[in-house]
Amino acid sequence: MNTPALVLVITVGVLYGTGFYLLVQRSLMRVVLGILLLGHGSNLALLLTDGGAALPPLLGDAGEGRIADPLPHAMILTAIVITFGVTTFLLALAYRVWLGDENDEVPDDIEDRRIGALAEPEDSA
């Protein structure tokens, strides 16, 4: 029972794909949503390392049937909480950006633009 169910693998792919897509958007709010989706995708991927559906890893219930590996669960639990912390922080940032200039878009880096606009090398004659 090492391999996971196919629908769940596909679900991971969908969560990552949509997460990536939101991540490359200009709106900070969509970026935050993208990170949430990526978090879900990662959690599901971790869960699938254990294979298919099983019984909860609780002593006493371990009668017949397969017991789930508790280690991925512990990791996912940590991941959920940390995703929550990151999301909140990003939301606060997005909110601050919006307070500053009335939109929540990621602006271009002016300094990068300046370097790109250099017409000629400075020291090559």
Partner: protein, 815 residues
């Protein structure tokens, strides 16, 4: 002792900058101390070396890895040490009177020159190819700083960079060559490599690469352009680095490797063609110069070509000739550099067409320079003549085993042509610098002091004495020749008089032709002006530098546009191309087991999973397509709760409970924030048309890649779970919930880290909110936001704890 001497140089270099503040230019006298110590110690080793017993030292660095730094001082190394430490200390004494107290950065200059001396010493005494490379590049770095001494001048900086890029760039090729040689031979010890040269298909390539590095360092055509440009350095630096020592590093390496590798295919053709071309081109250019220092620089280029031809021969006679010529060139070239420096220092110019009567005002200097110029031209009874006799001997027909009579004659002819030109520019330099010219007005200037002139006179004496008594140099040259592997010991000794022989005839012919050339010099200059310029690689250098700059700018302009979405897309693209490409390739070439081909593959464990997966997938896709904020938020909530369902089915109730809590809180916070934002996502900056479709395709492919890797890696899993032993441990720990045990007991430290993250996030969020209250009170900090943020900040640590307590699964969890 050798490593200790190098360390002494470094120690003295460290104290020089503070001393320079007190002593001014006299700090160079202190700087000469380690050089004198080295020269004295080397002199003590002379008897042993002449008997064929080199002084050795060994520093174990990491013997377990075969890293032992071996040093040895043999005849060739001693010859170089005579230049580095012997001539070096005289140049340092000279520098103590050359610089004025107002010279900028004197301490740095003196320290760098001593460090250079240490590096150069390292190059010639190390017996390890890799250590040689390190010392070699250290000399390059020192040279960079010293050429760029006047760092407020642009041409100075430019020359320094040019020298650095040229020599260090080709030095990298040399390093590759060293590595190939070392791998082929199984050792990096130079003495072992030369004694038992490796064979193999890569050795000729290695030889070419090593020679490329040596040629760049020794300013061989067409890479010679950096050396004349480096003359912007102060004259003592030019005399020391760019005449006596550093540029000879390449010659030294050629001479060091020649006994073992002269028979390797490309060696002799490369050494002869580049060396001879350099000799003629350098001398030709030297004839055109009006600046005494530049004339000497091109003369050095020419002589370096000559030396390369000699050093590369690899025969015992060439060993004798190389030692004699290295010493002769070191003595006469540094004398002339210092003499030109004296003129420049006293008169204020070294341009020959503006000098007149210098010889009358400074007869001692003129005499010393005449001796040195005579040695350069190859006149008896000077060391230059003795050396040149030996040089011709190397390529006499029949003396080099790999050359036919015609080949030897051709080489001799070009050597003679170069020597005629050498005679010409030697005469031009002395004539132009010291004679009285009717058409040039004489200047008034102070005469030079005796201490300033003493090093010049001593060096000139060194040009003369070994010429009068070649037996001073001959034993050293014989000792070096004795290390050459060719069995037949040469029956040749350095001498003024060998009887009537072909070399003598050549010397007479060269002198006669040189006199004719000098008598008809005006006609020769006109010929030169009419002749086309010799090609050199300086154009290629500038094209290369320009190409690097514009490529960097072009790449920056395209990739670093300042747009975060673009950066992320580039990263995703890289993910798809590099690991993605590898993944597809290994699937296609069946280097990886295709998961679908075996195992217990199934669509779902229970049909409920299909339903939940549809909820998650569809709501995620819909959230992406949604233009309005609130519906997008609700769809995301649906995704989250779908995830909870999947967790339940998968036997993870703790996860489901925690996720429900976290999702609910996230939704509440999002709603608080979204309340203030516009109803729709801004559409102004959104990508439309092809860019948008391309983004969608890249993201979809990235999702497929992640799913594919997940499927392949779970299928490939062969080891049992790491948590197998946890069951027994759980009995002792007294809890029924394994996940809870892992978090609170087995991996409790990780949980502390997690809490730290949460606290940090909470503090960050709180500080953002507080800053908002202070500064943004009028435009957005009303009670709604003010209330929302503290709730978040307060809740996070609580959530963290609750999340885990939930997972205790029992009575006091989510209550």
């Amino acid at each position: 002792m050798l490593p200790a001497l190098i360390a002494l140089h470094v120690a003295v270099a460290v104290v020089l900058p503070p001393l320079a503040v007190r002593l001014g230019p006299r700090v160079f006298l202190v700087a000469a101390v380690p050089l004198l110590a080295t020269a004295g110690w080397a002199l003590l080793q002379l008897p042993g070396i002449l008997d064929g017993r080199p002084a050795t030292a060994s520093v174990p660095w990491a013997p377990e890895l075969g890293l032992v730094l071996d040093f040895r001082l043999d005849a060739l190394a001693l010859t170089m040490v005579a230049l580095i430490s012997g001539i070096g200390s005289l140049i340092f004494v000279y520098a103590a009177w050359y610089f004025s107290a107002s010279e900028r950065a004197l301490g740095r200059l003196a320290a760098m020159m001593v460090l250079f001396s240490a590096s150069m010493l390292g190059v010639v005494v190390t017996d390890n190819l890799l250590a040689l490379y390190v010392f070699w590049e250290l000399t390059t770095v020192c040279s960079f700083v010293l050429i760029g001494h006047s760092d407020h001048r642009e041409n100075s900086r430019r020359a320094a960079i040019q020298a650095l890029i040229t020599t260090a760039g080709f030095g990298l090729l040399m390093l590759i060559g060293f590595l190939l040689l070392g791998q082929a031979a199984g050792t990096y010890r130079i003495s072992e490599l030369v004694a038992d040269p490796p064979t193999g298909p890569l050795v000729p390539l290695a030889v070419v690469l090593v020679l490329a590095g040596a040629f760049a360092k020794s300013a061989q055509v067409p890479l010679h352009y950096w050396l004349p440009a480096a003359m912007v350095a102060p004259t003592p630096v030019s005399a020391y680095l760019h005449a006596a020592t550093m540029v000879k590093g390449g010659v030294y390496l050629v001479a060091r490797l020649a006994p073992g590798f002269a028979d390797t295919g490309p060696w002799l053709p490369l050494v002869l063609s580049f060396g001879l071309a350099t000799m003629v081109v350098g001398a030709w250019r030297a004839m055109r110069q009006d600046d005494g220092k530049l004339l000497l620089a091109y003369g050095t280029v020419s002589q370096l070509g000559f030396l390369t031809v000699l050093a590369g021969a690899g025969t015992p006679i060439s060993g004798i000739a190389v030692v004699a010529m290295l010493l002769a060139h070191g003595f006469f070239k540094s004398t002339l550099f210092l003499a030109v420096g004296v003129i420049d220092h006293q008169v204020g110019t070294r341009t020959m067409s503006r000098l007149s009567g210098v010889g009358r005002r400074m007869p001692v200097l003129a005499t010393a320079a005449a001796v040195a110029a005579g040695s350069m031209a190859g006149l008896p009874p000077l060391l230059g003549f003795v050396a040149k006799e030996a040089d011709f001997e190397v390529y006499l027909p029949g003396h080099h085993p790999a050359l036919s009579v015609a080949g030897s004659s051709a080489v001799l002819l070009v050597l003679a042509l170069g020597s005629v030109l050498t005679f010409g520019y030697s005469a031009r330099l002395w004539w132009g610098s010291f004679t009285t010219k009717a058409e040039v007005a004489e200047r008034r200037y102070p005469s030079a002091g005796p201490a300033f002139l003493a090093p010049v006179v001593l060096l000139a004496a060194a040009c003369l004495l070994p010429g009068l008594a070649p037996s001073l140099v001959d034993p050293l040259a014989q000792a070096h020749a004795a290390t050459m592997p060719h069995a037949a010991a040469p029956d040749y000794h350095l001498a003024l008089w060998h009887g009537f022989s072909l070399p003598l005839l050549l010397s007479v012919a060269v002198t006669a032709a040189g006199l004719v050339l000098f008598a008809n010099r005006e006609r020769f200059y006109r010929l030169q002006s009419a002749a086309p310029r010799w090609p050199d690689a300086e154009v290629a250098y500038h094209l290369f530098v320009h190409a690097v700059y514009s490529t960097a700018l072009g790449v920056t302009r395209r990739l670093q546009t300042g747009s975060l979405p673009l950066y992320l897309t580039v990263i995703l693209g890289t993910l798809l191309v590099v690991p993605g490409g590898w993944f597809v390739w290994s699937l296609a070439s069946s280097g990886l087991h295709v998961p679908m081909s075996g195992g217990d593959w199934r669509l779902w464990d229970t049909p409920v999973q299909l339903v939940l997966a549809l909820v998650v997938g569809v709501s995620a896709i819909a959230a992406v397509r949604e233009e309005r904020r609130f519906p997008a938020l609700l769809l995301l909530g649906a995704t989250g709760f779908g995830m909870c369902g999947i967790f339940v089915v998968h036997g993870a109730p703790d996860l489901a409970l925690t996720l429900i809590l976290v999702e609910t809180l996230t939704m509440i916070i999002l709603i608080f924030v979204l309340r203030r934002l516009p109803a729709r996502f801004a559409s102004g900056a959104r990508r439309v048309g092809w860019p948008r479709r391309l983004t969608a395709v890249v993201c979809a492919l990235a999702g497929i890649f992640v799913a594919g890797v997940l499927a392949a890696s779970t299928y490939a899993r062969s080891l049992p779970p790491a948590s197998v032993g946890y069951w027994e441990e759980a009995e002792h720990a007294g809890s029924a919930n394994l996940v809870n045990l892992i978090l609170a007991d087995f991996r409790a430290m990780d949980t502390i880290g997690e809490i730290t993250v949460l606290v940090t996030a909470a503090v960050a969020v709180a500080s953002l909110v507080v800053a908002n209250r202070r500064t943004g009170g009028e435009n957005g900090g009303d009670e709604g936001n003010g209330a929302a943020k503290p709730v978040m900040a307060r809740n996070e640590p609580v959530i963290g704890r609750e999340g885990h307590e939930t997972s205790t699964g029992g009575g006091h969890g989510s209550g």
